[in-house]
């Protein structure tokens, strides 16, 4: 009871109008994602080629149409669904794989450190296109593969970040204390170290989200991406580029939605970071 009111207070303290705006936007995106089939929009895959490349304000297509005459608004909203699944999925995989590697390497040290951190080096050393090709070969194309591939591609960021943090935290006395007072190594890592290295990881999340949206469109080229005609924002930007001169909205709108979403996720990340950090709001120097 008291705990809730404290965390509510902390939450309130970490809010400001811009952040609330961001959170609302994320909420809207999520709601749209869930409700989009009920909105009565045209089928995002329905072609009407004679009406291709209609500009903003085309009757029946408020945001215009693409080269297949598909409704841009509907594709944008339906695209949100795929986009969120793919980019959040990929980021989650990267997070789990990377943080695990970084935690193990940083906390256990010695040969575990060599193995995990050098694995990370190997992943990093591969050009993404080659690594992607490799994974498609093993798994075959599809959304799951896409998520796994991007997850692996992005995991080094988290691994390095976590590793760097863990190395500084692992020698702090509260970590040692946790072990003296009976916590297993695993438990110490999960309940003591992890929460204390989380802040920079949370900051990294929206960046990874952004990169995964970009890469998603890039990988579709290898037949690894979202399979057309399913709409996804990344693909829409990539496709729209060809018709950029005829209908700039085809690039501008999805780009804008991507940027706005990432910004919003970043703001939510900020809220989360401050909320989870009981020390936040303490006076800082200078």
């Amino acid at each position: 009871m008291k705990t809730t009111s404290r965390s509510v207070r902390r939450l309130r303290r970490s809010l400001n109008p811009v952040r609330v705006g961001g959170a609302l936007f994320v909420l809207v995106v999520v709601i749209v994602t869930i409700l989009v089939p009920l909105l009565g929009l045209p089928d995002p895959q329905a072609q009407n080629i004679p009406e291709k490349l209609g500009g903003i304000g085309t009757p029946g297509h408020p945001l215009g149409t693409d080269r297949f005459g598909r409704d841009l608004l509907s594709r944008l909203l339906h695209g949100a669904r795929i986009e969120l699944v793919v980019s959040i999925g990929a980021t989650a995989v990267a997070l789990v794989v990377g943080v695990t590697l970084g935690m193990l390497g940083g906390f256990l040290g010695r040969f575990v450190e060599t193995i995990t951190m050098r694995t990370v080096d190997v992943i990093l050393a591969f050009p993404p296109i080659v690594l992607a090709l490799l994974i498609v070969t093993i798994y075959g194309p599809g959304i799951v593969t896409l998520i796994v591939t991007m997850g692996i591609l992005f995991s080094p960021r988290f691994a390095r970040l976590t590793y760097g943090q863990v190395v500084t935290v692992r020698n702090l006395e509260y970590v040692e204390a946790s072990r003296v007072f009976g916590n297993s190594t695993l438990r110490t890592m999960l309940t003591v170290v992890l929460p204390n290295v989380a802040a920079p990881i949370i900051v990294q999340l929206p960046l990874t989200l952004a990169t995964s949206i970009l890469l998603e469109s890039g990988l579709s080229y290898l037949g690894l991406g979202v399979v057309p005609p399913t709409p996804s924002w990344g693909l829409m930007v990539a496709d729209g580029q060809r018709d950029m001169i005829a209908n700039p909205a085809l690039v501008a709108l999805p780009s804008a939605v991507i940027v706005a979403t990432i910004l919003a996720f970043g703001l939510v990340g900020d809220i989360l970071r401050d909320w989870l950090d009981p020390r936040r709001g303490m006076a800082s120097n200078l």
């Binding site: 072609q47 080629i49 080269r67 297949f68 080229y221 290898l222 037949g223 399979v227 005609p229």
Partner: protein
């Protein structure tokens, strides 16, 4: 040294923007547009094409076919030389043609050349080519760039050739960036080459290539992106030169048995697709509908009625599906490639048409190499393909209905009757006879559907208004357009 005939108004250097890098030149098997362009600049065969697509003499001053179209006699021009100064004689011709005939050469015209019986060289300037079977269209195959006559050293282990008997010789290559040519003084028609130098720069991206033209960095570009046709047309300083080029079609895996082995299903597919949509969506409208066998209107073998054999008729398509026992449709994999946007767009735009007659397709759209292998191994149900005949003569169709498994042909398709007809076409003596045969061929194709044609895509060059004399050769010969650089000129 400047030519005495060059007036002040002629610019000595031609700059070309090319759509792809050419790491290696192997004239016998070069099929890419970029490599063929370089081939036409460096190499020459016995015959060539003029701007209209008519076969014209090249290294051969003249040629004569025997009455049975089995033997062809070529008279070479006098004092022919390769760019390195060595003499070009009938021995070179014999060696080149015999090489093309070996099955392992991978030559583009290998199928035709496999009919070679012998090459006789009564003297240095005469070559007599004897075929096992009659082939009326043989000269047009020899006019292809891949039949260029090569110096002996090109037949080494690698078979690379950057030296030939064409209008230019290569001075310098900046790998992956550009090729610098100078005029080849040993070219038989050197007086008609109006450029002292030519630079070919690689612009892989279509938009970048166009930008280079718009910015004046180059005079001529190939492969104008379809989205940009209007843009070029609007520019007063530029000429857009489009021709109907390769044709897009669907092919099928009939080896699996199942619905696609049933010719009624294939007919239904051919009748179901909306070809205008393909043209609009995949080619920004810069493509013409092909609703029968791909024989161009200008061809003497064109048959207006048969050309509409697969005119869209959804009701009939549905009825055929029902007759075949697939009233409820079926699921299929539609193979295409995301590496070429127009391939993928073609697939996307036929998807709803197929769905309309109950064929539910999932796209398998990977990179080109993967697509090729899957197609060659039959790992698909329906595939999108784009292809050009080697020649405009309908005999080219043989490549798409018979022969070993290939990545651009229906997997497992075999129609002996059609093969027979095509063979007859090659042997028919008169044009009237041939026309009759090819009408039957077209009818047969419409019935058994070895492929379902979609559109003939426009293939355009764009060039500065200052460039005159260059022409985009119509039909499948668009890739041979480099031939017309001889005689072209550029205003300063």
């Amino acid at each position: 040294a400047p030519k005495p005939t060059a007036s002040n108004s002629t610019a000595p250097e031609l700059k070309i923007g090319l759509s792809a890098d050419v790491p290696d030149l192997k004239p016998s098997r070069d099929q890419g547009a970029a490599a063929m362009m370089l081939d036409t600049m460096i190499h020459r065969g016995l015959l060539g094409y003029d701007a209209k697509g008519q076969v014209v003499p090249a290294l051969a001053e003249s040629f004569k076919a025997s009455a049975d179209n089995k033997s062809f006699t070529f008279k070479l021009r006098k004092d022919l030389k390769f760019s390195d100064g060595s003499a070009l004689t009938s021995a070179n011709v014999k060696k080149t043609l015999e090489f093309l005939a070996t099955s392992s050469s991978g030559a583009k015209i290998g199928a035709t050349m496999s009919q070679l019986a012998s090459v006789d060289t009564p003297d240095e300037q005469t070559a007599v080519v004897n075929l096992k079977n009659a082939n009326v269209a043989f000269p047009s195959y020899l006019a292809d760039t891949t039949a260029a006559i090569l110096p002996d050293k090109s037949f080494g282990a690698q078979g690379t050739s950057w030296e030939g008997a064409g209008p230019f010789k290569l001075d310098k290559t900046q790998k992956g960036v550009s090729f610098t040519f100078s005029k080849n003084p040993n070219f038989y028609d050197a007086s008609n080459v109006n450029f002292d130098k030519a630079t070919v720069t690689v612009y892989a991206d279509g938009q970048a290539r166009l930008n280079a033209l718009l910015a004046g960095d180059v005079h001529l570009i190939d492969f104008v992106p379809w989205e940009s046709f209007d843009r070029v047309k609007q520019d007063a300083n530029l000429t857009l030169d489009p021709q109907s080029g390769p044709w897009m079609y669907l092919h099928f895996n009939v080896a699996k048995g199942g619905p696609l082995a049933n010719e009624k299903v294939r007919q239904a597919i051919a009748l179901a697709v909306n070809r205008e949509n393909v043209a609009k969506a995949a080619f920004s409208g810069q493509a013409s509908v092909v609703a029968g066998a791909p024989i161009s209107e200008s061809s003497p073998f064109y048959n207006a009625q048969l050309a509409q054999g697969w005119k869209q008729d959804v009701a009939k398509a549905k009825q055929l599906m029902a007759e075949a026992g697939y009233a409820n449709g079926f699921d299929a994999v539609l193979l295409t490639s995301s590496q070429y946007a127009f391939h993928q767009d073609t697939a996307l735009s036929v998807q709803p048409d197929l769905a309309a007659i109950g064929i539910r397709t999932t796209l398998d759209s990977g990179d080109w190499a993967t697509r090729q292998q899957k197609a060659a191994e039959g790992r698909y149900d329906i595939a999108v393909a784009g292809s050009a005949g080697v020649v405009n003569d309908p005999s080219f169709l043989v490549n798409f209905v018979t022969g070993p498994a290939a990545n651009n042909r229906s997997y497992g398709f075999d129609d002996p009757k059609l093969d027979d007809l095509l063979n007859k076409g090659l042997q028919a003596a008169t044009d009237a006879d041939r026309k009759a045969v090819y009408d039957q061929v077209q009818e047969r194709i419409i019935q058994t559907v070895p492929f379902a044609s979609l559109v003939g895509r426009s293939q355009a060059f764009a060039y500065s208004k200052k460039l005159s004399g260059f022409a985009n050769i119509p039909g499948f010969l668009t890739f041979e357009s480099g031939y017309t650089l001889v005689g072209a000129r550029l205003q300063a």
